[in-house]
């Protein structure tokens, strides 16, 4: 197809004639549009007036393999929307509306086929470029620096729905609206030649039957140039922010890492504690069915002859299997994770079932693998590729997924093989949306079916009203839509899979959603463990753990238990890493560091955290220059993540910090305060001492004049006092307003409204000792399910500590209901006037207004306790390490001393 487009693009001009056309203009974000008298849409970027000349709508005809000449018939403004109507030699009604959408321009194209033939059309948004000197181009997958010939991949899978061309001042980005679900898209760049300007284009396909109408949302934005195509990503995320965060109505625990089979099945009574300590929020409940395609386990499908003998629980009689499944889901939920019911994205179905019951869903695609005859989903089935949308199997999948949601009170589905590969041309094709065509005719790619099924999942609800989430396994060579409609994802691989950047494009697609690595260290893939010495294995594991740490920070992945379980170094970093990923990866780092260092930013404003690291063998002394204006209003001041002191200078609105960046260890900076105006301060040294009950923030500031200092105030806390050079300063919410007089100290103290008293009192509470329980947990008479659950979790916490970690007796702190608490005791209750964690009269009160708040403050309190009762737990990796390092299982490396 591409070869047919190129010569046409070169010779065609847009909007060659115009009738009844009124000159109109539109301003949105950095773009100015003007429909000229000839019908051409002149466009200018405010960031570089020479970069962009026009934004054209074009229409490619897949039958004639030529672009159709479009005539602009009219243009009108309604509010802030410019609408242009076009005609062409074919019986098509074509309109395009141009309107501002946050940081971008929305171009909605609607085409009605008024003829009696099926039409194959490619609506194309084309940026006509002015000065192309020094342009680099991103084609949705790779970058070309100053391409001198046509540039653009010819693949759909693994490609982002946007492209960009930029110089060091500005760029222009085009693409599909983020919520578009299409079987095909393409981006390309043509450098200027023979009097024709440089062109950047994006297109998708319409297949329109007679009388049919389709609309597509296209997108354009002009962005700064400094951070290359990451600027385009930034503009895209900011245009469609809701598409690049998880759905706000699903269970927020899907933002955390995966439990990686610590809760499916539950193999230890300590699984809840292991999951919590390893920041696991969801589980991948692998194939909880007997027959692929029958997720319910329906009686009529139960008895069949599988390709291979069923084993394990799948060999149980139906009722026993279903009972086992219910019990496993209940047990997993007690680990406080979202139990993701595994489905192979419903694109695989047991072969006999697929052929005999759902033949209309079969995908026949010689370019894709459509049949597994070796063990795959269940191990005993042969599985066939199917299309789960607008087919009998699609309908049944929706019925079945709703049924298991109700049966198991699900909060999530785990979509495996969610990439969306395979072209469907079966009997349901005429009624499908998102169709495209290729040399073999019309098709609908499986990504359309997968995305529609993901949308369907979001219409399901758990019994408490929580929307059901989609946790998926796409892979970097997936369809973009599979990522857009997921809430949280894994990359089925290690940080070193293929190469160090294999997971990057998945991050670009995911925006600020959670990504996790999967698999594990698998040292046997590097060395033969039967030949390698224990020391060699330990060295290998250390290196892989360090690499995991750095890559996780670099591109925003949470390492799951196969990487962290028993690896103290990673467990130490997990709180920070998890906070970074859940705060949200930012494509525009806005932190300049010299090579070979790299920097990554998470969060905006006072949520910002910036990680700086390198992958060389020597410590690097450098200065990081942070462009505050890209993510904040004023001069942002940082400490280390743990509050350790950092000195910075503020020059030209930038915060500059000298760093000694160690080898194999990141430096993580956390925003603590923001000074407005930015030039009120020229230097600052900031530190923070924070705990459960309060925070003491010290800012040594050099500056002059009145300033407003916005302070990062943690949840549960409020500023209680602020003093500048010892004198009280006015406080308003999270802001203080000192008048700076040269060098001075601003000291801001915060107190928690929930965690009261002192950290010492809360952390040193005598719950238990090596000799046994030294406290009792008191619940009210008729305590609810949540109160009982949390009481059990507190007791388990100390059983875990004294039993599992210290190898002693489990204290089994008693839990009593309906008795007057006596010291030392712990009261856990809901129905209080507010949230409170406080020791009073020898009794620790953990209470809140409702179950949700009680659970939140309880879990936060456990995080506080973790600072005293810290352990990376045990696990397979620590077994490797212990084998190598004897009694020093927590990974002290031989060459670090």
């Amino acid at each position: 197809m591409k070869s047919a487009i190129i010569p046409v693009v070169i010779c065609m001009l847009l909007l060659t004639s115009c009738t009844a056309f009124a000159q109109q203009s539109l301003q949105c974000a950095n773009l100015s549009l003007r429909a000229d008298e000839g019908g051409r849409i002149e466009a200018t970027s405010a960031l570089d007036p020479d970069l962009l000349d026009a934004l054209n709508l074009r229409l490619y005809d897949g039958h004639s393999e030529e672009y159709l000449p479009l005539t602009a018939e009219s243009a009108s403004m309604r509010g802030t929307t410019l609408t242009v109507a076009y005609s062409c030699p074919k019986p098509l009604a074509i309109t395009a509306t141009f309107s501002g959408q946050r940081t971008g321009l929305a171009v909605d194209v609607t085409i009605a086929n008024n003829g009696d033939q099926q039409e194959w059309l490619a609506p194309t948004l084309e940026a006509e470029l002015g000065d192309t000197t020094g342009l680099s181009v991103f084609d949705g997958h790779t970058v070309a620096v100053e391409p001198q010939e046509r540039f653009g991949d010819d693949a759909f899978m693994g490609r982002l729905p946007i492209c960009s061309a930029w110089n060091d001042r500005a760029g222009i980005a085009l693409g599909l609206a983020a919520d578009e679900i299409r079987s095909w898209l393409d981006h390309s760049y043509l450098p200027a030649a023979d009097g024709r300007p440089g062109l950047l284009t994006t297109l998708t396909h319409f297949v329109l039957d007679p009388g049919q109408t389709d609309s597509v949302g296209l997108w354009a934005a002009s962005h700064p140039g400094e951070w290359g195509f990451h600027e385009a990503l930034d503009a895209y995320y900011r245009t469609y922010p809701e598409m690049f965060r998880r759905d706000p109505d699903v269970d927020p625990r899907v933002d955390l890492g995966g439990a990686q089979y610590r809760a499916w099945p539950v193999g230890s009574k300590f699984a809840p504690e292991i999951c919590r300590r390893l920041y696991a929020g969801w589980e991948w409940c692998y194939a909880p069915f007997r027959r692929t395609g029958d997720v319910v386990g329906r009686e009529e499908f139960w008895n069949y002859q599988p390709a291979r003998e069923a084993t394990g629980v799948r060999a149980l009689p139906r009722e026993e299997f279903l009972q086992w499944r219910r019990e496993q889901f209940r047990a997993g939920e007690a680990c406080d994770v979202v139990m993701g019911f595994y489905v192979p994205a419903q694109v695989w179905c047991e072969e006999q079932l697929a052929r005999e019951v759902y033949p209309d869903a079969l995908i026949e695609d010689p370019t894709a693998r459509t049949l597994f005859t070796s063990p795959w989903v269940t191990g005993h089935d042969n599985e066939r590729l199917v299309f789960p949308y607008e087919t009998s199997f699609g309908e049944q999948s929706r019925v079945d997924m709703a049924a298991v949601t109700e049966e198991l009170d699900l909060r999530g589905f785990a979509f495996d093989t969610a990439g969306g590969n395979g072209k469907y041309r079966g009997p349901a094709l005429p009624i499908l949306d998102g169709r495209a065509w290729d040399e073999d005719g019309v098709y609908c790619r499986n990504n359309v079916a997968v995305a529609r099924l993901m949308q369907f999942v979001h219409t399901l609800h758990a019994s408490d009203g929580t929307e059901v989430a989609v946790i998926s396994n796409p892979n970097p060579r997936c369809a973009y839509s599979s990522v857009i409609w997921s809430d949280s994802m894994m990359l089925e691989g290690e940080p070193w899979k293929i190469d160090r950047t294999y997971g990057d494009s998945l991050r670009w697609m995911a925006g600020q959603k959670t990504l996790v690595w999967w698999e594990g260290y698998a040292p046997e893939t590097f060395v033969d463990p039967t030949q390698a010495t224990d020391e060699q294995v330990a060295l290998l594991m250390r290196g892989l753990a360090d690499f995991t740490l750095l890559q996780s920070f670099r591109i925003g992945y949470i390492p799951p238990p196969a990487y962290t379980h028993g690896v103290g170094r990673l467990v130490e970093w997990l709180p920070a890493l998890t906070e970074c990923v859940t705060t949200g990866w930012q494509p525009v780092t806005a932190a300049r560091v010299p090579e070979p260092l790299w920097a990554t930013r998470y969060g905006d404003g006072l949520d910002a955290m910036i990680v700086v690291a390198h992958e060389t063998a020597d410590e690097q002394d450098i200065e990081v220059a942070i462009e505050n204006e890209r993510f904040a209003d004023g001069a942002v001041l940082f400490t280390d993540y743990d509050g350790s002191e950092r000195a910075s200078t503020i020059v030209g609105g930038e915060t500059r910090i000298a760093l000694a960046v160690p080898k194999r260890t990141p430096v993580l900076l956390r925003a603590r305060a923001e000074v407005l105006p930015a030039d009120a301060v020229t230097a600052a040294t900031v530190s923070a001492r924070e705990g459960l009950t309060g925070q003491d923030l010290r800012l040594q500031l050099t500056g002059q004049g009145p300033a407003t200092v916005r302070v990062r105030v943690p949840d549960e806390m409020a500023i209680t006092s602020a003093r500048y050079n010892g004198r009280p300063v006015a406080v308003q919410g999270d802001q203080v307003a000192p008048r700076l007089v040269g060098d001075g100290e601003l000291r801001v103290q915060m107190r928690s409204e929930t965690f009261r008293g002192t950290d010492r009192a809360l952390l040193e509470f005598p719950f238990a000792s090596e000799q046994g329980a030294t406290s009792t947990i008191f619940l009210r008479d008729g305590a609810g399910e949540m109160e009982q659950y949390l009481a059990g979790r507190l007791s388990l916490y100390f059983d875990y500590w004294y039993g599992r970690i210290n190898g002693g007796e489990e204290p089994a702190i008693p839990i009593i209901q309906g008795q007057q608490p006596v010291a030392p005791g712990v009261v856990i209750r809901t129905g209080a006037g507010g949230s409170r964690v406080e020791v009073a009269g020898g009794i620790l009160y953990i209470e809140a207004r409702d179950d949700a708040q009680l659970k939140r403050v309880f879990m936060e309190y456990l995080r506080g306790l973790d600072t005293k009762y810290w352990a990376p737990d045990l696990g397979v990796v620590s077994t490797w390490l212990r084998r190598a390092k004897g009694d020093d299982p927590w990974l002290v490396w031989p060459d670090e001393n």
Binding site: A307, R308, E351, Q352, R355, L371, F372, T373, S374, N382, W496, I498, D499, R500, T525, F526, V527, D528, Q531, A532, Q536, V537, L539, L540, G543, L544, D546, F547, E615, T616, A617, K663, R664
Partner: protein, 286 residues
């Protein structure tokens, strides 16, 4: 190369006398005869190309192939390949007819670096339900250059000795209805270099017969140990045909049914005089 029979004459120095123990191992079927691989020792071929074996990859330019003299394990030649990049895998392969049953695919490789994949695979979609097999073994190293040396010191990756040959083995269960498979050996998406030789594909188990003669010395015990297992495959001390405290019958013979054909065995014969002799099967026959 002999696979079916091993005869070891081991001279034992006992004072000034020289005695011998003869160990004779046979299998039914003989291992060499049971081998379904053609040109298994890679010695046949012409014009610089090995006979029967073909090479397949989606990116031919990523590979340099060889069949040079002097590179072989026991004989002269071996299959050789170098992958220049990780962009694509590539495999030496040959097809063969099979019947349902349990098989073993084994052979030897020598590698400088790279992740090796040896696998037996095939599908028959002409029957319903379709049947297939895909049995794999990965060996070698996926040394990722970007991890070395900052994250992973080279010494931690000391893998198989590049000067030595190393065995691989894959169990292959052929289902009913599958009539042909392919054996493939190559580099799996890593740069690297590897040689393959002495490949065998045949029944997963064979009958093994052991004849041991003390050649004048009485035998006290005979054991057959499989590499990797502490439990003997055979121990004359547990054989009811070998009375405790008495020398073994002369000549000593024992037949074992269903011995794994992918095993490497150590045969230990101990004389009444206390001399312990060991030989390995089948390695010391090749």
């Amino acid at each position: 190369m002999r696979r079916g029979i091993i005869v070891m004459i081991i001279l034992m120095a006992t004072g000034t006398m020289a005695a011998a123990v003869e160990v004779n191992v046979t299998t039914d079927p003989p291992l060499e005869a049971a081998n379904l691989v053609q040109n298994a020792d890679m010695e046949q071929g012409a014009d610089g190309q090995p006979a029967v074996w073909t090479f397949s990859t989606a990116v031919p330019e990523n590979f340099t192939l060889g069949w040079a003299e002097g590179a072989g394990r026991n004989g002269s030649r071996a299959l050789h390949m170098t992958a220049h990049d990780k962009v694509m895998s590539g495999y030496w392969a040959q097809k063969m007819p099979v019947q349902a049953g349990d098989y073993v695919f084994r052979g030897y490789y020598r590698t400088v670096t790279g992740r090796l994949l040896m696998y037996a695979h095939g599908t028959n979609t002409d029957v319903q339900p379709a049947v297939g097999v895909d049995a794999r073994a990965f060996h070698g190293s996926s040394i990722a250059s970007f991890l070395v040396p900052v994250f992973v010191p080279l010494e931690a990756l000391a893998g198989p000795d590049p000067e030595s040959w190393h065995p691989f083995s894959v169990k292959v269960a052929i289902p009913e209805g599958l009539e042909e498979i392919t054996l493939s050996m190559g580099l799996y998406f890593t740069p690297g270099e590897v040689w393959f030789d002495d490949v065998w594909f045949g029944p997963a188990t064979v009958q093994m017969t052991l004849n041991v003669s003390g050649e004048g010395e009485r035998l006290e015990s005979v054991k057959i140990l499989r590499d990797g297992s502490a439990t003997p495959v055979y121990n004359s001390a547990n054989d009811p045909n070998c009375p405790t405290g008495q020398p073994l019958p002369e000549p000593f013979k024992v037949t074992l049914d269903a011995v794994a054909s992918d095993g490497v065995y150590m045969i230990e014969a101990k004389t009444v005089g206390g001399e312990l002799q060991r030989i390995r099967f089948p390695e010391e026959a090749e």
